[in-house]
């Protein structure tokens, strides 16, 4: 029965999406059909309550503000400067400036708790510059889609808070536990860029003129504004000036200051950035609304819950259990967003995890990496949506570009399984 419902709803979703229905509206339509078809509840009132609740939640305010920050910075010389400063250092590394996407996302992930904000902000700054310099689109978009997901794994991270509360795991330990796996992922991504570039040297544009150390250091002065901005936002979090959510506001103010200092802050730029951010946020907000309602419908229908319970009855060995759960979350991740996945399944799965003797802290990081993979799988993958919004490319095209990074994350999961210390070592060093 559950499998029939699942197949039917998946079929419906693909039909709506292929028919060209706007994605957020398609999610709502599938939720409505699911509730009408398979529950005795009427979809209307719950729809409005849930969508209002998700659309007015305080923790979400960081997203529009970070998007706005990206739009402001896009209209400054910051990205040009950043590339001028970084280029001399990266000239010998195969793949050259493609690494700025990964480094930028990793740094920004330490500021933002969401994957969409990370992907959009760095994308807005880096994409035009990479395109102008002639870097291949597949690599520019792929690295962004992949590295953007680090927003979830490197603290602060909203999904870790959700998991920590559901699974009774220390949020502080989860945050610290995500640091090494985050660095591991970034290293894997950079490694892939190096390998790809060695295999396709003709596709990477030539370096600017070679410089000596003094020249490199002199060029680095261009990095001062971006370093100041990141230090300001990070600093505001770690000195207790702002909470992780409020840091986005600091980011917007900082970008306005940079924009003013570079004399790019005028009326038309301000309005263009503001309206651009408003539309980009609205595009994501409509999908978030659809996703919130689909989650409600799934809660009523009980599909994820039943599947999770069924997995619990299989009596698998810990290793097999993780393989099955990995596949389960990847499939679920094709249709639901990460937080919904955790909320809808943890209550049922947690006893199974504990019975199998899996460390809940380790499992939390495992889930975050799997949820990261879900950000770049079609049809519902938020980083794909963000990049489609930025570039106008088809989701399928972007998903194809992102495929290697999906595989690298799968590899990371295997590595984390083989070396659990990557997750548990740092939190073990904590006092208490």
């Amino acid at each position: 029965m559950d499998l029939t419902i699942a197949a039917l709803l998946i079929g419906l979703m693909l039909l709506f999406l292929a028919g060209g229905l706007w994605i957020g509206l398609a999610l709502i339509a599938v939720g409505v059909m699911g509730m009408l078809g398979f529950t005795p509840r009427s979809p209307g009132d719950g729809m409005a309550v849930t969508i209002w609740g998700s659309g007015s939640a305080w923790t979400l305010t960081a997203l529009p503000l970070f998007l706005w920050m990206g739009e402001i910075l896009f209209r400054t010389k910051l990205s040009e400067d950043m590339f001028k400063g970084l280029a001399p250092w990266l000239e010998r590394l195969p793949g050259r400036l493609l690494h700025t996407n990964i480094i930028g996302c990793t740094l920004f992930a330490a500021v933002s708790g969401s994957s969409a904000a990370t992907c959009a902000t760095i994308g807005k700054i880096a994409l035009p510059e990479l395109t102008r310099r002639g870097y291949p689109e597949s690599m520019a978009l792929g690295t962004l889609a992949g590295a953007g997901t680090l927003g979830l794994l490197i603290p602060p991270s909203i999904i870790m808070i959700v998991y920590g509360v559901s699974a009774d795991v220390s949020i502080a330990k989860l945050f610290i536990g995500g640091v090494l796996p985050g660095i591991l992922l970034a290293a894997l991504f950079m490694g892939w860029v190096v390998i790809w570039s060695l295999l396709n040297p003709e596709k990477i544009p030539p370096a600017d003129i070679r410089t000596n150390l003094a020249g490199k250091l002199r060029a680095s002065r261009h990095l001062i504004p971006v370093v100041l901005l990141i230090a300001g936002v990070l600093g505001s979090i770690y000195t207790g000036v702002a909470t992780a959510t409020e840091a986005a506001g600091i980011g917007v103010v900082g970008s306005l200051i940079i924009s003013a200092a570079q004399r790019t802050l005028n009326r038309s730029n301000f309005i263009a950035a503001l309206m651009g951010a408003t539309r980009l946020y609205c595009m994501i907000a409509l999908i978030l609304a659809g996703s919130a309602f689909l989650t409600l419908a799934m809660g009523y229908i009980g599909l994820p819950r039943h599947l999770a319970a069924w997995i619990g009855t299989l009596g698998l060995s810990p290793g097999m259990l993780l393989v099955v759960l990995g596949i389960f979350y990847v499939v679920l991740g094709c249709f639901l967003d990460g937080i919904s996945m955790v909320v809808l399944t943890m209550a049922v799965l947690l006893p199974t995890i504990q019975a199998a003797g899996i460390d809940p802290l380790w499992f939390g990081i495992f889930i975050v990496v799997v949820v990261e993979m879900a950000q770049i799988t079609p049809p519902v993958g938020f980083n794909l949506f963000v990049l489609q919004g930025l570039t106008g490319r088809q989701i399928t095209t972007i998903a194809r570009y992102a495929m290697p990074y999906f595989m690298l994350m799968a590899l990371a999961v295997v590595l984390l399984y083989a070396f659990p210390g990557l997750i548990t070592w740092l939190p073990g060093k904590m006092i208490g």
Binding site: A18, G44, E246, R279
Partner: protein, 172 residues
């Protein structure tokens, strides 16, 4: 009629942008007031309401810029006749869904008022007030989709706002 409708979409977009500014102002007021030892009630909740107003009020404006994303891969490969039919179908379905969304959002405001639903936070805001932003935004969104559906039914191409020159966000 066209002028009037476009003015409606633009006004809604402008209100949304004010919502974005207000979100920033609320967040920063919270940050700045704390070290000063001033306790301002509910700036975080107000930030949430302003963000909601921004997201919902911008729906139609964003739609009219063609920036709500969708998968056009399949319908682009159809023949012109089939494609027109598919476009019409997705517009019709979209009008239906956004209509339901608008209807239930308006009902949400009404019910919140009837129930006396109040925010449990420090702000203690009667929730029907900020929910008006959602209802209004969804209603204008519905009008925009209906507008396109009617235009398409009449065999004309739906109107889209042009991008300003200073927004080279797209790669192509």
């Amino acid at each position: 009629m066209r002028t009037l409708l476009n003015a409606l979409y633009r006004a809604s977009g402008a209100a949304a942008a004010l919502g974005m500014i207000a979100t920033l102002v609320m967040v920063m007021t919270g940050v700045v007031s704390r070290p000063l030892g001033i306790y301002l009630r509910g700036t975080d909740d107000y930030a949430g309401y302003c963000m909601a107003a921004c997201g919902f009020l911008a729906l139609a404006y964003t739609f009219k810029h063609g920036e709500h994303i969708r998968v056009s891969l399949v319908i682009e490969r159809l023949g012109p006749k089939m494609r027109r039919a598919a476009e019409w179908m997705s517009l019709a379905a979209g009008t239906l869904v956004s209509g339901a969304l608008a209807w239930y959002s308006i009902q949400l405001v009404w019910q919140s008022h009837q129930f006396g639903d109040v925010s449990p936070g420090v702000d203690a805001t009667p929730l029907w007030i900020p929910q008006i932003g959602m209802a209004a935004g969804c209603l204008v969104f519905f009008i925009a989709l209906l507008d396109d559906l009617v235009t398409t039914s009449l065999g004309r191409a739906p109107h889209r706002f042009a991008h300003a020159n200073d927004e080279p966000a797209h790669m192509e």
